[in-house]
Symmetry: C2
């Protein structure tokens, strides 16, 4: 069922060499091709639209769900709606991610709409990796929409990584945090050639003592374009911090348009953004150690996106 290309993609987006342990659902070219459930994690195909419901029982700890998506069919425009019920007090890792292999002249696209209900006191780590490859001239397009509601005392960690090879992306992430709920977002974005990427993160700090930390790092090379809208809205006593750093090279363009709104005088919100090129001292230092300029650049960029 999994051919050589699929295996490369699975390794890139989910660090998987074979089928994963625990619960999983592998989607290829618009269809589920392989699934496993566990005693605590059920996966049910949606009846009204493409996608799955993932139901994690309250108190489930130390389990994982893998839901990789492979797109390799010429001209495919795949849309999927996945819903996650992360039960009260559970502690789970969910690994999503999509890899597109395009060797055709037509575009291939995957739009993943993910909705998460993280119940009281639950801890969810959600990892999403996006990757494109293939020598076709057709575009590789990935538009994830991630909607998360975090109940009291919940903790959500998001790792959202676009490794390489994605020609166009619009990433929408909307999070609502209730009382004492916490959010930690790590975003990594790389574009080159004439790729474009837009990332929109909206966090509503609704509950008392909720907190959010968003750290975004990106590298834009060649003629690529990136735009970031990172918004924190403090509706009550809360703390929020956004840090958005971009390295810009060649003819690339980067825009950062954040918004912080304190609607309560006990809201503490901080935003920091910096756009600039690699510090020349860093380059010089590595080059005096014997590296070429390109090698030195590569090391600095890899380190920055780690």
């Amino acid at each position: 069922m999994l051919n050589a290309i699929d295996k490369v993609i699975l390794e890139e987006i989910a660090d998987l060499h074979e089928v994963p342990l625990g619960a999983y659902n592998i989607r290829k070219n618009g269809e589920g091709i392989s699934r496993n459930t566990t005693a605590n994690i059920d996966i049910i195909t949606k009846k009204d639209k493409p996608g799955i419901d993932v139901i994690i029982k309250p108190g489930t700890k130390g389990e994982s769900v893998h839901i990789p998506v492979i797109v390799s069919q010429e001209g495919l425009k795949d849309i999927v709606y996945n819903t996650f019920e992360v039960g009260e007090g559970s502690d789970v890792v969910i690994v999503a991610g999509c890899g597109i292999h395009n060797s055709s002249g037509e575009s291939e696209q995957h739009d993943g709409v993910h909705e998460f209900f993280v119940r009281k006191g639950a801890h969810m780590k959600y990892v999403e990796k996006h990757y494109g490859e293939g020598d076709g001239t057709g575009e590789r397009i990935l538009n994830p929409k991630t909607v998360i509601e975090v109940e009291e005392n919940g903790l959500v960690e998001l790792e959202m990584i676009q490794i390489k090879g994605v020609d166009k992306t619009v990433r929408d992430t909307d999070v609502i945090l209730h009382e004492n709920a916490r959010l930690i977002v790590t975003e990594r974005l790389f574009t080159n050639s004439d790729q474009s990427a837009e990332s929109n993160i909206n966090v509503k700090l609704v509950g008392e003592d909720s907190s959010a930390q968003v750290i975004s790092r990106s590298v834009a090379r060649d003629d690529s374009k990136q735009i970031f809208h990172m918004n924190l809205i403090g509706h009550s006593k809360c703390r929020g911090h956004i840090q958005c750093d971009s390295i810009i090279m060649d003819n690339a363009q980067v825009s950062s348009v954040p918004e912080i709104d304190a609607l309560d005088s006990d809201a503490q919100l901080i935003h920091e953004a910096a756009i600039g090129k690699i510090a020349s001292e860093q380059l010089t230092k590595l080059m005096t150690l014997g590296l070429t300029e390109i090698e030195a650049e590569d090391i600095i960029l890899q380190d920055f996106l780690e």
Copy 2:
């Protein structure tokens, strides 16, 4: 010509006890009431619309221009268009500012549109203070629009201060910086009661080696609202830094919506914004020295807005 109220206003907005030294033009309730020119600085009434042209000869150094505006007439809506030609290599201080005294039930408004051409190598310091007073229920409204073009090697320092008593303000500031031109903006904004303030600063870094530094500090008390749009657009090799700090108290609301756009890979742009209340340690420290909470708050706020 200047009554007791006028003198209080002049002192608040321009630190003037009597008529100023150097060139000046005093406008009261929509009319110029007093003017002085010097050998190097001419002031000419516009023919096509209300306002003046201020022409500063190339090489003029160490001179100042005062152009205070007094509004104290019930229901007045005053609009004025002033144009400044700041000659090549000159070094001048321009003190504007508007004070509104409203003891009526109707609103009083002053919209000052200021356009500056700062020629090659010129240094202009522009100070603008806004102030409202009077026990009337009518609103005191000030909408300044400031448009500045800075030629090669020019330096512009802006000090824009809204002291108190302004019920509504929309402040628009647009600056274009050419080669090696520098901009330093200091903004101070205070609102209380149900006042609202919007400040929009757009800086285009067009020329090689241009640089901009914008430091904005504000305090929002009671039910007041503030919104900031601070934008830096880097079109070439340039450096820009925005720092926007707000103290929020009571039921006030503050939004910060900056934008940094690097359209050139040699543009280095940084934005920092923080919204929060007074640090409780600071309050505690001053209160252990014998101050009441209100006295301690006042000292911290004054210090912050200095």
